[in-house]
Each structure stands twice: as structure tokens, then as C-alpha cells.
């Protein structure tokens, strides 16, 4: 396989051909934030938090394949502000009450807000009316927190490949539904995986919660992305 070289903010990054900008960055120790992308899942580019700029054009780093000689901008101030505004939109578009959320401290949306030091969203809060669904015996679906990343849809399947989570409706009415018959057969491991794969607190296991004390949760001490690269933006 041939090797390519791209630059990310001027830094040369080598990689085998055929990988996405996100993958090239990651293997070269450059952090590009993302929410909908998840290890081993086919990227869909739905959240746009990983937006980078190449030759003046904006593209999702998780879906765009890196091409030899590309000059990628990742941390330009206007680009970072655009990402921050996407995060702020996600916060106002749902009902994200961090103090009462079981996922607080382990939530990737919250962790990105910490990383970008979001003190308050610039947009007005929408306070949408959404219901909590408890139809699955082992899972709670908290639609107030769902950011439509489709990670659950893509990753949680039965042994014969049937999807347990499905997107329903369109546009602002879209929500993630669950197949009640398939959900009834979910094993404990699958239920745990579903909760882990959800970047926010939208999929929760029933009967457990707040198990890890404050101070020992995933993003209490270290910012998201420190496993890839040291340091915070700017």
C-alpha cells in the first residue's frame, strides 16, 4: 500500500493511503474533536464537530479520505469557534440538565464543552417537549439528551444482524426508536455496550446509576482528547 503525506496545521503527517483525515490525525497524535464517530463503526459525518478546512472548503474529517499533499486546517480560531457553535446548538436543541444526568462526568458532549470552555450557549434555549421511554426491560431512552449521532443504530445489532435501535421520523421530529421485541432479548453485556456507545446520557441501563463518585469519572480530571494529544486549544 502506498504511503501519503498530508499537513495538519503545517505539521507533516504520514499514513497509508485510503484513510480518513480523522484517522490520519489520530495515528499522528493530532486531536480532532468528534461526537458521532466511534471506533470500528463506519463514519456517517452527522455531527460535523470534526469539521476541518482544506483549500478553503469545509469538510468532515471523519468521512473525508486524506489525499496526498492535502493541507488541512484544524485549529484555526474561526474553525474552533464554528465547532464551539455546533456544540452550543446541541446544548440548546435538547434538554441537557447535567446536574441530574447519570452520564455527567462521562459524557462526551459535556467533555467537549469543558474542553472548549463553553460557559453559556450563544443561542436561546429551546426547551423541546420530549418523553422518556422505558419500554425496553434493561434500558431507558432519554430522548431529551439525544444528539442523533446514530452510534447506537450502527453498533447495537442482534447476532443475525438485525438493528435494535432505528431512526424514526424526519428533521426536527427525528428520534431514535427501539424495537421492543429485540430489546426484550438484550443481554446485560449488550445493554451495557449500548449505554457505553451513547456519547451522552440518552441510553441508560435501568437499575444502576451514579456508580462512580465525582472526581473519578472519565472527564473529571483530564480533558477529552488527551489520549490522542496533549494540551488544550489555544
Amino acid at each position: 500500500m502506498s504511503e501519503i503525506t498530508i499537513t495538519i496545521d503545517g505539521r507533516a503527517c504520514k499514513s497509508p493511503a485510503g484513510r480518513t483525515i480523522f484517522e490520519v490525525a489520530r495515528t499522528n497524535g493530532v486531536y480532532i474533536p468528534t461526537l458521532c464517530n466511534y471506533k470500528d463503526l463506519r463514519p456517517v459525518g452527522s455531527c460535523r464537530v470534526c469539521t476541518v478546512r482544506v483549500a478553503g472548503r469545509y469538510m468532515a474529517a471523519c468521512t473525508q479520505v486524506a489525499i496526498d499533499g492535502m493541507a488541512v486546517e484544524n485549529t484555526a480560531p474561526d474553525l474552533e469557534d464554528m465547532r464551539r457553535s455546533i456544540l452550543e446548538m446541541l446544548f440548546v436543541e435538547g434538554n441537557h440538565l447535567c446536574p441530574s444526568c447519570e452520564k455527567s462526568g462521562n459524557c462526551e458532549l459535556q467533555a467537549l464543552a469543558y474542553r472548549y470552555q463553553i460557559m453559556v450557549p450563544r443561542f436561546p434555549f429551546q426547551f423541546p417537549v420530549r418523553r422518556v421511554e422505558a419500554v425496553a426491560p434493561k434500558l431507558l431512552l432519554e430522548h431529551n439528551r439525544c444528539i442523533q449521532c446514530l452510534r447506537c443504530v450502527r453498533s447495537i445489532q442482534t447476532e443475525d444482524g438485525r438493528r435494535i435501535f432505528v431512526p424514526q421520523n424526519r428533521s426536527r421530529w427525528r428520534k431514535i426508536g427501539v424495537d421492543p421485541r429485540l430489546a426484550a432479548e438484550l443481554t446485560d453485556e449488550m445493554a451495557l455496550k449500548a449505554m457505553e456507545v451513547c456519547p451522552v446520557g440518552s441510553i441508560l441501563r435501568k437499575g444502576v446509576g451514579f456508580a462512580v463518585p465525582i472526581g473519578r469519572r472519565k472527564f473529571d480530571k483530564t480533558p477529552i482528547g488527551t489520549d490522542v494529544a496533549e494540551g488544550l486549544p489555544r
Binding site: L97, C98, Y114, M119, F125, F127, K221
Partner: protein
Amino acid sequence: MSKPVIATASLAGCFGCHMSLLDIDDRILKLVELVEFNKSPIDDIKTFTKPVDVGLIEGGCCNSENVENLRAFRKNCKVLVSVGECAIMGGLPALRNGIPVRECLEEAFLNSPTVAPEDRIIPNDEEIPIVLDKVYPCHEIVKIDHFLPGCPPSADLIWEALTALVEGRPLNLTYEMIKFD
């Protein structure tokens, strides 16, 4: 030179943010040296008696009294700070935002199993502030200059922000200071 003047208020909040303000350990002695308190539940001064440099607002606006109070703070404070999740986005009181006010009142005062049968009345005395249609973040009512997230914001964050504001220097925030819970 006279000391900078501070005022604080708890609107639709739980006083947790005020507790966090008092949770600064021995720095509380420095605070007394550094600033003078005006209208605040901490010294129980009920009305503004002089212009205030920094106003700290805890809680969002859930009734007419909160709105009047917040507007009085805006009028009398040079700098106004939203302290905590409730002031910033409504917080837990905003859980009622998807429910019609009538339904909330009926649940609390008529249908709740703990209401005694002879007490089944929705309070309607004119002395009682009018409940708003939903809980509003403070910056949707008046201009807010700074925001300190957290439930409550850590004592370190409040201390850093307060001292930076009265000393007129930029904020020096560490990663662990900004938390939403």
C-alpha cells in the same frame, strides 16, 4: 479608596451557589478585607443602598418577583454575573418547562396524594408573585456580563472570578474549574 461593593441574590435557586461562595475556607477572611457586601442574603440587606460593582445572581426566573429582583440588580450593578446552572439555563426548575403551568399547579396543590382534602386550593392571594409560563435563564431577561457554570460552581471558580473582577484582571481558569454538575 473604598472597597468594591458586591451584591448577591438567589432567584429560582436552592442557595447551593451561595453555599459554594461561603465554601472558600480561610479565603473568607480575605474576602471581608477585599470587598463590601450590599444587598445580599449573606448580610440580610434587603434593598440597594449604594451603587454596586459586581452582582452575583443564583437561580433563573420562575415568577414575577424574580424578574423584578433581577431588573433591580441590572439597574444597580455595574457587572452582573450568572452563577450556576439555574441562572444560566433554568436548571432543575426548568424541568417544568414542557408542562403547562395549570397542570403543575394542579399536581402540586390539588391532586398530589399528600394534599389534605380541606386544603385543595391553588394559592391565589395577590401578595404571592405570579408564576411565569416557564423558567427563564437570566440572560433572556436582562443583559448578563459573565457566566459561571456548575451545580454549584466550585468555590475555586467563584473565588477566581470574583477576585479577577474586583482586581480588573483577566480570568485564569484551569480545566477542573469548569464543570456543569
